[in-house]
Symmetry: C2
Subunit: 359 residues, 2 copies
């Protein structure tokens, strides 16, 4: 069975597509392709995300993004040399424009909610392939926060009867999935360790590729100690670090430092908070943009007792893990199997995720 996974994250970079073949219990990544959002699309998404807008703007974008997703799948098929007709299924995350995993009081009930747009029926009709989309509401329906969903892939890829493994994703925020030896899906624990690239990116106004900036600086130890004293890092999981936690206010801590020193300190904060959060295991498997910061990877490796590798070792491009995750989650749903990790989302039970649209 051949499945395309489609992901577009809140960073609004664009659309990632991965094509994955499933043979029995094995999966093989055939190829991947990324399409950047044009600026006007990025602005239109921002305008309806968690803000005051017109209902019609959301509805139109819901149908418009579906066209872009369909185009991205077709472009990926062409680029990868996997004909569209060879696809059996598409799994599409959609674009999150609202997420409130913790329930609030609403018209007399406790309501948690999430909203991903990009209509699955339009994608299915354009591509001639069934589409499973809208994975998060099912987890919320069984008491979960609707996030994170990547731990399922971590468990699927990295579980081992004798070795415990940690899947580490270094995006804006860093998070880990803890997959102990012999873990069932229900045993998987996942949480945010703290900042990933976000503080570093915020200081530089861009990405510190290979840690070029940080390598020129020196860690400011007193500041580092002060930042590490944040009680978040000692709190027991499940826990979630919001993007707002490491925004402009947080960057003010670094005021007065030379840029290189600030970035070196921020890099050390990321490496140290990740390292301290990681429990006993035989391997740490990294993915996400942070793997392209070789200095961060070195600093992290220096503080870990376990070997640090990347998901590439397991056939998964670290930049496309989420797209692959939604191919895998769609495949699970298609097979009638659950895809959430209750220990990661807080759900009462594992649940079949997603809604299926017909071509």
């Amino acid at each position: 069975m051949r499945v395309a996974g489609v992901m577009s994250g809140t960073s609004l970079d664009g659309i990632d597509v991965a094509i994955v073949d499933f043979v029995g219990d094995d999966l093989h990544v055939v190829g991947q392709h990324a399409v950047a959002y044009p600026d006007d699309v990025r602005r239109a998404i921002l305008a309806v995300s968690n803000s005051v807008t017109h209902t019609g703007s959301i509805a139109r974008l819901h149908f418009f993004l579906a066209e872009l997703y369909a185009d991205a799948v077709r472009a990926a098929c062409e680029r990868i040399g996997a004909p569209l007709v060879s696809l059996d299924l598409i799994g599409c995350h959609g674009q999150t424009i609202f997420h409130e995993g913790e329930s609030i009081e609403f018209l007399g009930r406790r309501i948690a909610s999430t909203l991903q747009i990009g209509d699955a029926a339009v994608i299915a009709k354009r591509c001639g392939v069934p589409v499973i989309a809208d994975f998060r509401p099912d987890d919320i329906a069984v008491g979960g926060q609707g996030a994170p969903l990547a731990p399922f892939l971590d468990w699927r890829l990295f579980r081992h009867s004798q070795f415990g493994r940690i899947a580490l994703n270094i995006g804006g925020i860093a998070n880990i999935s803890v997959i102990r030896a012999g873990a069932s899906l229900e045993d998987v624990i996942a949480f945010d360790t703290g900042p990933g690239n976000m503080v570093i990116d915020g200081l530089i106004g861009g990405f510190d590729r290979d840690g070029a900036v940080a390598r020129r600086g020196r860690v400011n130890q007193p500041l580092l100690e002060r930042l590490l004293s944040d009680p978040y890092y000692k709190r027991r999981p499940p826990k979630t670090a919001g993007r707002e936690q490491y925004g402009a206010e947080f960057l003010a801590h670094f005021a007065g430092l030379p840029l290189a020193d600030a970035v070196a300190t921020a890099t050390e904060l990321t490496a140290t908070t990740i390292a301290r959060a990681i429990p006993d295991a035989s391997e740490v498997i990294a993915s996400g943009g942070g793997v392209h910061n070789s200095y961060l990877m070195e600093r992290l490796a220096a503080q870990l007792t376990q070997p640090l590798t990347t998901s590439a070792k397991y056939g998964v491009d670290p930049d496309f893990k989420e797209a692959i995750a939604f191919a895998v989650l769609a495949h699970e749903s298609f097979m009638g199997r659950p895809g959430n990790a209750p220990g990661a989302t807080g759900a009462r039970r594992a649940a079949i995720l997603g809604k299926r649209a017909s071509p």
Copy 2:
């Protein structure tokens, strides 16, 4: 196979549930139940419908309404004496908060769109039954206007190899489905004939049950002639009459008339525009709230050459036809069969409708 159909229309009355059994090609309505929306829910829906609002208000209501739909299905099962576990499937229309069936220019593409809320995954998880919802986007994806969808049921119920039949629904707006003898789904034509109860209701500020008000009045012929001269009534289908077409501005035509005369004239307008729109056929089968206005039905029958009956003759409560329609459409989707009537929606082809969520 037992299917619950759930409908909540733009009139915001509340939620209609019909339970329908399918045995081969036959369908049998087991029972029906209606739940009114509380006032605060009605206000919350209005606040996000085709207006400026916060994304979060839509997301929360999307999850909240799903809880109400699930409650309504459970209440219907109890009332009807059909245990929840006897349900095989739920078909839920959702609550429309935006509909733009004609495409507009949007970020450089032609985009038509529609938005129905009430998350299917939440309903499925609450009821332990698969749910098919969100029927309109599939029709839009194949070039249709996403409406009307009721003609499928009309065709399914009333088609006959030798007799042509007209299904007439008298809601706020009146519309007909024309099902000629031996018609295939593609042959069905449907369109709005003009006002249904809307003008009468607007004048009275309520429903004219049994035409009690109209019966006391006299038709003002000059006004009626003037209203009948609107070119809409002569235009060839497909055509759609918007609710805005018969709002406050339209009511101003009746200013100065005694209420009973105004209502008698409005009733005659509805009866006459329906009668004139109806082509050759052997029977006119009415449904919708208008069937409870016996005076309207009398005036209509007087102008028709065909016998006028109601859908009750075919086992379909005239007040629950739409709820039954969404049970039937869900059943069709479940069977992998299309549910739109291209001659009604303008779609390029018949399409499988809806997205399926798992329990």
